[in-house]
């Protein structure tokens, strides 16, 4: 355990404990454990934490820097009595490691994890997968501290009623998705059948529409009359224009509606039936 004393001109403003394995963040923003509200201090200026077997101070690329005993540093080990200068404030480091009983390392004042919001970093795909696996292991281990080894979980469910199975692995791949199809029964369009393979199918006059409505010289259909969207293997139809006069099974449609096998939809005089196509 070590103590940090935040001082300004000899006056001690605050005292914070940093435990072995813990971390204390220092900066201008309120999410820091030691907030130093001064413009000379960066939002997340510096941090003091336990590394391997000693405490270190590490500057977070702050604008005005972190100084230890008047030397600008990026990351150094702290010794008892060191003074860390942040802006115009000093943080005195008192190492109490030697007074600690090993058993007394009870985290009485463990600091919660706090967003550091340093510069964004990107993980490559491999590293990201590793971290995800780590988080999963942590979650499984954390939720079931006395449970059997992680591997036993999924296979054991059902056969070992005494042991709660580990949380299920990420959702299994969804069952094979069926593709919907619209068949034109009445009216003028550019094709007799439309396979609804995309997430979004637009019905309208626009050149970008999937199902193109033709209309007549005197009655032009809207650019976008209606849309059919596919979500999780289901299809929904929604009107986009009052003039489209969208009907499902003969009834006018206010908002959107899920399509069922055999439904007929009517848009601007074009009648189509919906079914699934294998």
């Amino acid at each position: 355990m070590a103590k940090l004393y935040l001082k300004f001109e000899q006056a001690v403003l605050k005292e914070v404990t940093v435990t072995q394995g813990g971390m204390v963040t220092i900066g201008r923003l309120p999410d820091n454990m030691i907030q130093v509200d001064n413009l000379a201090v960066s939002g997340h200026h510096t941090k003091i934490y336990w590394e391997d077997d000693h405490y270190v101070v590490e500057d977070n690329n702050s604008l005005n820097g972190t100084f230890v005993n008047n030397q600008r540093v990026s990351k150094v080990t702290l010794k008892d009595g060191d003074n860390v200068l942040v802006g115009k404030h000093t943080i005195t480091f008192k190492d109490e490691w030697h007074e600690d009983q090993p058993e007394q390392r009870v985290p009485t004042q463990v600091m919660p994890a706090v967003p550091q919001m340093e510069a964004t970093v990107v993980l490559d795909t491999k590293k990201a997968k590793e971290l995800m696996a780590q988080a999963r292991a942590l979650k499984e281990g954390g939720a079931f501290p006395s449970a059997a080894p992680a591997g036993a979980g999924p296979t054991a469910s059902g056969t070992m009623p005494a042991v709660r199975p580990a949380p299920p692995p990420p959702p299994p791949p969804p069952p094979k998705e069926r593709t919907g199809m619209l068949t034109v029964l009445e009216g003028k369009t550019d094709q007799p059948h439309y396979l609804l393979s995309g997430k979004l199918t637009v019905i309208g006059k626009s050149a970008m529409a999937t199902i193109k409505l033709k209309g007549s010289l005197f009655r032009q259909p809207p650019d976008v009359a209606a849309i059919v969207s596919k979500r999780e293997g289901k299809y929904f139809v929604a009107s986009q224009d009052k003039k489209a006069n969208l009907k499902v099974n003969g009834a006018e449609l206010g908002h959107q509606q899920e399509l069922q096998e055999g439904d007929t939809i009517e848009v601007f005089g074009v009648k189509m039936s919906f079914e699934y196509h294998d």
Partner: protein, 274 residues
């Protein structure tokens, strides 16, 4: 009456940084809007985000002249030609940044997020890589259209941590997809149909970290113009601490009679990278 767009965009250093690693650009003639948030030391982040914006604008300007979207990489299934064009433009931007990073030692490790929207009348296609976001503001509601490619959000999606834990996590700054970090990248793309009055907000995390959805909606709805809305959004992020660069673009789909399109154009038609 036909549909057209109004647009405003702005970028700001924020309260702490001395350089701006964000970039943005748009060209309403081709309906393309882009925001990039760069990363990497020694000004490399600025280079990456600029290449990102430039490459994507250039792709659509060339495609407009040729009246055809060139395909880069494997076309995606189930999405429109326009969504595929965005994916292609982003793959091209990734390649350009990746090549620039490998040629110049000082730029090694540079990367950028990207959010882009392609707007053609009612037809909207969106794409993103990284933790920049697109929101749709329709009447009195706001909806986030993109899912951050960040480690914490991925953990939330897989049920490993709760959204509350994610907000407190010290790994919020880690993104798992970016332009330029690997040889290939896949953007998430989506198609939508817009309605007159819809507003798209494209923003980097410097805004969305500090200003929550409800507040975004309130600011945009209450501003007299899109330009004022952009300024107020940025100010809100700065008031909340704003230690990162802040950038946003607002695009509104509007119904406009033909004569308004011919006379009295208000906002400039395009804005190149800054």
């Amino acid at each position: 009456m036909s549909l057209t767009v109004q647009v405003a965009g702005k970028s700001d250093l924020g309260c702490v940084r001395t350089n701006n690693e964000d970039n943005f650009g748009y060209d309403t003639r081709f309906g393309i809007f882009v925001v990039c948030d760069g990363m990497g030391g020694q000004a490399a982040g600025e280079v990456a985000s600029k290449i990102g914006v430039d490459t994507i604008l250039e792709y659509f300007r060339k495609a407009g002249a040729a009246a055809k979207y060139p395909i880069e990489g494997e076309p995606l299934e189930g999405v429109s030609e326009r969504a595929n064009a965005l994916a292609s433009a982003i793959r091209l931007a990734n390649k350009t940044i990746f090549d620039a990073a490998s040629k110049n030692a000082g730029h090694a490790g540079m990367g950028s997020t990207v959010v882009a929207a392609l707007v053609k009348g009612n037809f909207l296609a969106i794409a993103h890589v990284g933790d920049s976001r697109i929101y749709l503001i329709r009447k009195d509601s706001i909806q986030q259209l993109t899912n951050d490619h960040s480690l914490v959000m991925e953990q939330v999606r897989r049920g490993l941590i709760t959204p509350e834990e994610a907000e407190k996590s010290n790994m919020q700054n880690i993104i798992i997809r970016a332009l330029g970090s690997e040889e290939t990248v896949e953007a998430d793309v989506d198609d939508m149909v817009g309605q007159p009055g819809d507003i798209l907000l494209l923003a980097c995390d410097g805004l969305t970290k500090y200003v929550k959805d409800k507040m975004l909606l309130e600011i945009v709805k209450n501003a007299p113009t899109l330009q004022v809305a952009c300024e107020r959004l940025i100010q809100a992020a700065k008031d909340a601490g704003g230690d990162d660069n802040i950038t946003c673009i607002l695009v509104r789909v509007v119904e406009e009679p033909w004569y308004r399109r011919w006379f009295g154009k208000g906002s400039p038609q395009w804005q190149n990278s800054i």
